[in-house]
Symmetry: C2
Subunit: 218 residues, 2 copies
């Protein structure tokens, strides 16, 4: 259907347009896909030809409905495979992304749907990101950055906005994995770091930089 490369561009465009409703720029895509702007322009012409994106020279791109569907399907596969790797094969949450980057391109609707059932139709991947259902629907949870919380507020760690292995390993070491309950005990004015209680037991201070990348449900 679409080549491996085309799929990666669609995914990149999708992720870049999540949240902000504006068109995505050539340079943004080049950075995301580790290519150069000239290569991106070539690919944009091809994707536009295939009606997967809306593209006007110098104006950036948006995905068409077809394009969104294709992108969401790849993301669904990526996240389901990540669940498989963690839940069934015993990988850690910081080890699965690169393998899922390959598995997400395996082409078989039956396979994805059976995998989904085999895993018990999970609603989130190991990093807390929502898994689109087979019709492409995504249930977004209302998540708040720890850095935006006030003293006394409490919540459950339910996602991360930074997926690097080094960050995920750090969270694990600090006991801040998904499902952990936290209460903000103090906001340190000096450097913006945050003191919190983890699972009603441990007291811990985290930097603002870390706090910005941990998402909780209040």
């Amino acid at each position: 259907m679409h080549s491996f490369t085309e799929e990666n561009y669609l995914k990149a465009i999708y992720h870049l347009s999540e949240g902000n409703m504006e068109a995505v720029s050539t340079n943004q895509i080049a950075e995301m896909t580790n290519t150069k702007a000239a290569s991106v322009t070539d690919m944009l012409k091809k994707l536009a030809e295939k009606k997967l994106i809306n593209y006007i020279k110098y104006q950036g791109v948006t995905l068409t409905n077809t394009g969104v569907n294709a992108a969401v399907n790849i993301i669904r596969k990526h996240r389901l495979w990540e669940v498989f790797l963690v839940e069934k094969l015993g990988f850690k949450w910081d080890e699965v992304h690169d393998i899922a980057e390959e598995l997400e391109h395996i082409n078989s609707d039956t396979l994805v749907n059976r995998l989904d059932d085999f895993l018990g139709n999970p609603v989130a991947d190991p990093h807390g990101d929502p898994i689109p259902d087979r019709s492409g629907l995504i249930k977004h949870k209302k998540l708040v950055k720890i850095s935006d919380m006030q003293t006394g507020e409490s919540g459950t760690v339910s996602g991360v906005s930074e997926h690097s292995s080094i960050f995920l390993k750090l969270l694990e070491k600090m006991g801040l994995t998904l499902g952990t309950k936290i209460i903000i005990s103090e906001l340190i004015e000096f450097d913006g770091s945050i003191m919190l209680t983890i699972d009603q037991k441990t007291e811990r201070t985290i930097s603002r930089e870390v706090a910005k990348n941990i998402l909780v449900i209040l």
Copy 2:
């Protein structure tokens, strides 16, 4: 490491040299990989350059040790994924080959080995073909074609030499799946067809063509 395409050539050469110890010809490879002889020659030069094959112009090729290891590793992955699809996701034995053709190129030793453990270190795939262990060792069973058996002999269906969906579905319909016990009751002289008893119950006649492609352990 090696490209998707290179891996497919290595696998083709491996399968073509199984059994017969001779060098494999350009045309054989072209047929197996659905390409033309000229394309094969180009790729052979590249694989020889990488020391994966022994290649002398006009003389055909053999795999080097490195080449054999690479090929066996791909076959290991292919067969493990087939077991996964059948045992865990509920696919039929005639539905898994094409998906495994894609999955076999996923690149992660950890993944393969954990999958192997998850599946309980199976020794054969859904078609009875042996699964190489993590060091590349293959335990071949002594298999005999039904067409080579004599009246009165008995055995257990343990493999097939034809993997097409149409043939596998036929075997299923006839109750000749892996593990089935058979006894040769009569060899029909007229057309070479074979009458046999299945699981001590059913009597059935199969054509010589079918019999040639079913492998049993005596």
